[in-house]
Amino acid sequence: MNKRNQTKQPSQALVVIQGMIKENPVFVLGLGLVPALAVTASFEAAIGMGLLIFVTLILNRMLLKLIHRLILEDIQWFIYIILLTTQVVVLQMLIEALVPNLFLSLGIYIALITVNGIVFVLDNKHIKRDAFKKLTIDGMKTATAILISLMLIGFIREFIGTGMIVLGQTLPIGFDVILFENLGLSSYALSVFKEPVGAFIIVGLLAALFSAKGPKEVSQ
């Protein structure tokens, strides 16, 4: 009788995926909307921005955890801002040197990770309470959710807007390829989805989809 009443616990991976849907930083919480709308006209640029945010977020959390005890509580917010800004400046210089096409594609939005990243800075109590490993893993989950969200928006916008996906122009992946070119969909493409209008509409519809899918619990 006890075995019949026992509920099956969902797997860890399923819980993580559920969290990425229910508490998606872009579509549900509304964080990081500027990169989600501005740089996702191209799938490659979206991947590039997602990776930059991924690296910034995880490094930032790790650094905050390492140094938070060294800083007076009154000026912690200021030091956190300086830390994040310095990270972004260094990242910007690296991207400019190593991936100039991505730098030109993203433009001012790399520097704007600073002011979007500020909303990613944790409360002091989280930094004090959570262990280094937990903080980093939580950061990785959030950053992965943002990366996947940006990739999804970028894919949909470029596919509907041009009828194909171009790879190799912005990111140094070693080869150039144009996906779905042979399907001949470019004559049916809706170029409005590459414009700001399309960005807002696509992200709004995806946010509605995530909101609709979000509240349901994992079935047994």
């Binding site: 520097a111 807002f200 509605a208 909101s211």
Partner: protein, 190 residues
């Protein structure tokens, strides 16, 4: 482009929200009345203009001649934080009792990305001091125009039965998209 052309372009044609996607966070945050957003837009306008007054000479006279433009983002953030704190102190000292003007919310202004975004656009475009100030003014006005119109639409939408999945952020974004479509119609103005 003439000064008036820059102003109209920054306010209407290349509105900072619809062209550069800056200043969106406020639309998804807590619900505000029209009066609250009017005060917010004035705060943001003052912040943008004052930041540009300080940063333009700093960039042109110090950063560019010394070839340290890689420090721009850090220095601009420091200036914005300093100005916000300074204006906050000034406001607390001189304001009369008012339900509207409370303080410059640092988190709000920084998370906004609008102030830093306008400054970065200004420094990346070669222009005179007057042109950069007019662009900053136009951006602030354009943001104010957007957020007041958006709040008015949001208040009217509350009377309608929006599907559950669209409540909150989704309908906000779709509304903003339709506003962007309307503003696209102004593209041939000048």
């Amino acid at each position: 482009m003439t000064i008036l052309g820059i102003l109209i372009s920054a306010t209407l044609i290349n509105n900072i929200v619809f062209t550069y996607f800056l200043g969106l966070w406020n639309t998804t945050s807590k619900e505000q009345s029209i009066q609250d957003v009017m005060v917010l837009s004035v705060k943001v306008l003052v912040m943008i203009v004052v930041s540009n007054i300080v940063i333009y000479p700093l960039n042109v006279l110090i950063l560019e001649p010394l070839n340290i433009t890689y420090m721009q983002t850090l220095i601009f953030i420091l200036v914005i934080v300093g100005l916000t704190l300074g204006l906050n102190t000034l406001l607390k000292r001189y304001q009369k009792k008012s339900t509207y003007m409370t303080s410059f919310d640092l988190t709000l202004l920084l998370s906004n990305s609008l102030v830093l975004g306008v400054i970065l656009i200004n420094v990346s475009t070669p222009q005179t001091f007057i042109e950069s100030m007019v662009f900053a003014l136009g951006s602030g006005l354009g943001f104010g125009l957007f957020i007041i119109a958006h709040t008015a639409i949001r208040i009217r939408l509350e009377a309608y039965q929006i599907p559950k999945a669209f409540k909150g952020l989704p309908i906000t974004l779709i509304t903003t998209g339709l506003m962007a479509l309307a503003f696209m119609g102004l593209s041939g103005l000048i």
